[in-house]
Symmetry: C2
Subunit: 227 residues, 2 copies
Amino acid sequence: MENVDSQAEKARWRGRAKPQAAEAKRAQRQQQLILAAIDCISRKGIGDTTVADIARVADMAVGSITQYFTGKDALFSAALQQMAQEFETAWRADMALAGTHDAAARLRAFLLAYFRADVCQRKKVAVWFAYWGEVRARPRYRAICAEFDLVHDTMLRDLCASLIQEGGYAELDPARTAKTLAALAQGLWLEHLTGSDGLSRDELSMHALLGLRALFPHDADAFADPA
Amino acid sequence: MENVDSQAEKARWRGRAKPQAAEAKRAQRQQQLILAAIDCISRKGIGDTTVADIARVADMAVGSITQYFTGKDALFSAALQQMAQEFETAWRADMALAGTHDAAARLRAFLLAYFRADVCQRKKVAVWFAYWGEVRARPRYRAICAEFDLVHDTMLRDLCASLIQEGGYAELDPARTAKTLAALAQGLWLEHLTGSDGLSRDELSMHALLGLRALFPHDADAFADPA
DNA sequence: TATAATTGTATGAACATTCATTCATAATTT
DNA sequence: AAATTATGAATGAATGTTCATACAATTATA
């Protein structure tokens, strides 16, 4: 991640063209490693994933890891960052689709983004929990999570505030309502991960919608289960 | 754990007394190790906790761990088992206090047990997530969790079913309502663990009560915030 | 040909486990 | 009661393994 600058610098320095292709290839290789790391973490956990595992899955040599990341830790941090970034991109996209005016529709889109097919894979959820399991011990992970949580929480609180205003839910506190919904969504992820009766993504969505209807009964229609 | 039988056997065989004291001391020593393991895991995570760490905190020799547990893994499993057992004991006790007739009061007691002072310590929540982070990778952890989840889920579903019947919430499905509440409680644990604005246990309780009131509006009184 | 990228082995640090020894207490014998 | 023997808990240094990182050799690219 930190070599991006030196790449750009080099391009400027030489004045030649090629940074396009070279940089793209470099990015693709980094991506390969990040994907492999995520895959390994989901199957073996953070503690038991070795660089050899990652190299094997990425179909690269162990030495290449140092080429693209300072070390194992940096790779793991980059993987976490990417997961967080991907999720943020996902809910932003879904919200954009829901328009800009209807607060209920936007809130619905936001919360259901948790259960998108590309987000709510068992594999990825396992990785989220692997990181959360280490978050106390590793300040770096904590910092990355905090950065994305901030914008996530702010958005959710604003959505709740809008709906509370528009829908006439004077008794609800926006911040508390938002935290409650966030907790519900993340708790459902845990259910997805550990539940013996493997709840499908659709079922998880319906649990989330049940929570939304309960909190915002006037908008039950907007939060109805999909047909 | 597996020597208990041979101990009892010996007592029977010799007819003499002493197993009392010896067994108690043994149990106390095991306890010391389990407590030390929980402490270390909460501070360093499962992956970075070494037997040396545990021995230091327990104020014992590294070799003593093998004396009481097959190995590091067995100790960790025992610690998880104990945490799960403690939690089950906690909610059972709180429910007993809530009586046997009032479904709402019992459900309230059950859910608020998540936020008892002795259960909802940051330290212990960190350990829960450390285990969940590894649960995919370690079948042993998964089995222990599944065992306790079963009785937990059954109880919660029965509670929801009772209240749905008594309170006239025909539109609610007991199983789905139960899962939703469980997810909310566990999600609030995560909030407790990672939330930058460290929510106090009281605040967490209030979030849970908000969820209960939303789902069961006829019983808002029973689920009111504490004064 | 010069430069960059890739590879896989070499290295040493970190670690869990093993085990010979010590020591306090209980059991047995005088 | 005193002396002797037996027991098994406790210890921590020794052992062998696992792993991340560094680096020298090799291959690809420009």
